[in-house]
């Protein structure tokens, strides 16, 4: 056993020390593996960041009422009478005024101009009343102040002012054929709400000629378990018949499609590049074995087994690929970690999120590179283990 290890050791170290004589093909393998790993990780980090932004939105104890079968907020409509009925439902927490803690809201889409590309993109414009902040948790005005009811004032999410033109505090901006003054900026714990613009609900109802109807109602429940009662309540009354969902569930459903899409783009691309890297690795490793043919045969003639030759070649392949994996990971991390991006969220509005690297992602990247190293090494290593001994007698 100890002797086998000593053999493996000797052959492997010879093998690795001979890498400089195949410098360029070795480097190209490292680079190819690095690119494949980097691409995969970038997509994973994107999907991850998007998912954690959307998933971090909403609380389990907030119920959201929507028109049945409507899907998103944009298509929903709820009448004033229905809002009044909901106020009577059991299980809804009471606000400081003793009334049910709920927030009736409008939801529409306006154009914004991206700072990075100068292109148009959809932004959600949400009309809210004073309870919007009370029903949700973690909404904080971080600059300026809240808008005043009945005025054409706006507050914008932090991500909006960061990524879109014209939303600086004090600026006037034209949206939905109305001039608005930006009076405040808010934080919402990195959630989707930070990609929204908020204004007074009455202003929006007037602008869109909606009368007294709204689009969604959010209600803070006494606890998350009351959702069943609210559902039963809504189903029992023919005048309601609304969809009732926990806010967390609502956003989780919306995020799934998009983050899956990112993954479905990312994995095939990474796999295609992995095949390229694999071809490179195979080429490098066969070249390595061919270059060492006489050495390997000589070792065998001396009495060394085939195993050290196999392990030596395998180690070289795994090492080159692992270096590629680490380099690719490092590059992807330095280039993308924490970088903001925006993509289409639900209702074709923009969701601003950050690429997010996690240790699990890095593990996946290194795993991919080791798979390439293994697949690229195993056949050449097999050839190395079976070099004919007679090769020792031939001239190089």
């Amino acid at each position: 056993m100890a002797r086998t290890l000593a053999q493996i050791n000797a052959v492997t170290s010879m093998n690795l020390r001979s890498i400089p004589s195949r410098l360029w093909t070795s480097i190209s393998t490292v680079v190819a593996v690095g690119i494949a790993t980097g691409v995969l990780l970038s997509f994973l980090a994107m999907s991850n960041g998007f998912r954690s932004t959307v998933k971090g939105t909403g609380s389990p104890d907030v119920a959201i009422f929507l028109r049945k079968g409507g899907g998103g907020e944009l298509n929903s409509i709820i009448t004033r009478e229905q809002v009044q009925l909901i106020e009577e439902a059991k299980g809804i927490a009471k606000g400081p005024d003793g009334k049910a803690l709920l927030s009736a809201e409008m939801y529409s889409v306006v154009d914004g101009i991206k700072k990075s590309s100068g292109t148009k993109a959809n932004l959600p414009l949400r009309g809210v009343g004073p309870n919007a902040v009370n029903v949700r948790r973690g909404i904080k005005i971080s600059a300026g102040r809240m808008f005043q009811s009945g005025t054409a004032e706006l507050v914008v999410g932090r991500a909006v002012s960061k990524q879109f033109k014209g939303f600086e505090l004090g600026r006037t901006i034209r949206l939905a054929s109305q001039n608005w003054k930006v009076v405040g900026e808010f934080e919402a714990g990195g959630s989707v709400f930070e990609s929204e613009i908020w204004s007074d609900i009455a202003m929006l109802q007037g602008l869109y000629r909606r009368g007294s109807s709204v689009q969604t109602v959010r209600a803070r429940m006494e606890d998350p378990n009351r959702l069943k009662e609210l559902l039963a309540f809504s189903d029992a009354d023919p005048r309601l018949k609304l969809d009732v969902k926990a806010e967390t569930e609502f956003y989780a459903n919306q995020s799934r499609g998009i983050s899956d899409l990112i993954l479905y783009l990312g994995w095939p691309l990474a796999i295609a590049m992995s095949f390229g890297a694999l071809a490179g690795a195979l080429n490098t490793m066969y070249a390595s074995v061919d270059a060492r043919m006489r050495e390997i045969a000589t070792m065998r003639a001396i009495g060394f087994g085939g195993l050290p030759a196999f392990v030596g070649t395998m180690t070289e392949s795994l090492l080159l690929s692992a270096i590629g994996g680490v380099v690719g990971t490092l590059f992807a991390y330095l280039l993308f970690d924490g970088i903001s991006a925006s993509t289409l969220g639900s209702n074709f509005t923009q969701v601003v999120f950050s690429f997010k690297f996690t240790p699990e992602l890095v593990v996946q990247g290194v795993f991919l590179s080791l798979i390439i190293g293994f697949a690229g090494g195993v056949f050449p290593a097999w050839r190395a283990a079976r070099v004919p001994l007679l090769a020792a007698f031939r001239e190089q």
């Binding site: 002797r3 000593a6 053999q7 000797a10 010879m14 020390r17 001979s18 006489r294 050495e295 000589t298 070792m299 065998r300 003639a301 001396i302 009495g303 060394f304 087994g305 001994l389 007679l390 020792a392 007698f393 001239e395 190089q396």
Partner: protein, 230 residues
């Protein structure tokens, strides 16, 4: 203990070439006594290297038996043959076959990695072997930093370091000038005379063959004549 180190009886060897089977030897008999120094000469393609491979356990005969030191070796498995080679045979090649990444000392040490010797004992043995070939001062040199003759001396040190009974040399001076060849052949002669190593050497060069105790001529798969050297 028998007189002979190796006895070949009724050896046949065929290579497959496509569908054809090409015979190299048929019914070849040969005996190599202990402490022999035999030169094997013969035209190209006559089977000299093939014979050396059979003697060294690198290749197996198609027919016949080979006894080494009184034991059958023609029927050993591949792993047994590797162990047999490690214990009994030292190879010296025409092109030295040193590992370019390793120093002279590390090259010489390689066969010892197959023994039970510890690092310290190995270092002692390497030192002795390098001293025998007169290269103590080149222990740390890489093969590329040595002349052809010096490289072949390192190869000889590697061949003798684990104290095998038999040295097999295939054109050991085929790549060297006459003077250097003389040094190498003298060294083999000394190993044979003073250390009692049995040596079988393939050569094209009649001058080289004169260093051996006897010369065998191989032609068309047979030994055509034997003549004792001086």
């Amino acid at each position: 203990m028998s007189e002979a180190l190796i006895v070949l009886k009724g050896i046949g060897k065929r290579y497959k070439r496509g569908k054809q089977s090409v015979p190299i030897f048929e019914h070849l008999d040969m005996t190599i006594p202990r402490q022999d120094f035999a030169a094997i000469m013969g035209p190209s393609g006559s089977g000299k290297t093939t014979l050396l491979n059979l003697l060294g356990g690198i290749d197996r005969p198609s027919e016949g038996t080979i006894n080494f030191d009184g034991k059958r070796m023609d029927n050993l498995s591949e792993n047994q043959l590797a162990a047999f080679r490690a214990a009994n045979i030292g190879f010296i090649f025409q092109f030295y076959n040193l590992m370019p990444m390793l120093s002279a000392a590390q090259n010489v040490e390689l066969p010892l990695l197959l023994t039970k010797l510890g690092p310290r004992a190995r270092r002692e043995r390497v030192k002795t072997a390098l001293a025998v070939v007169g290269l103590s001062d080149r222990a740390r040199h890489k093969p590329s930093e040595l002349s052809g003759g010096q490289q072949q001396r390192v190869a000889i040190a590697r061949a003798i370091v684990s104290d095998p009974k038999l040295l097999l040399c295939d054109e050991p001076t085929g790549d060297l000038d006459r003077e250097t060849a003389g040094e190498i052949l003298g060294m083999l002669q000394t190993l044979n005379r003073d250390l009692g190593k049995t040596i079988v050497m393939v050569t094209h060069d009649p001058e080289a063959a004169r260093f051996a105790k006897r010369t065998l001529h191989l032609d068309k798969g047979r030994f055509s004549e034997k003549d004792l050297n001086a």
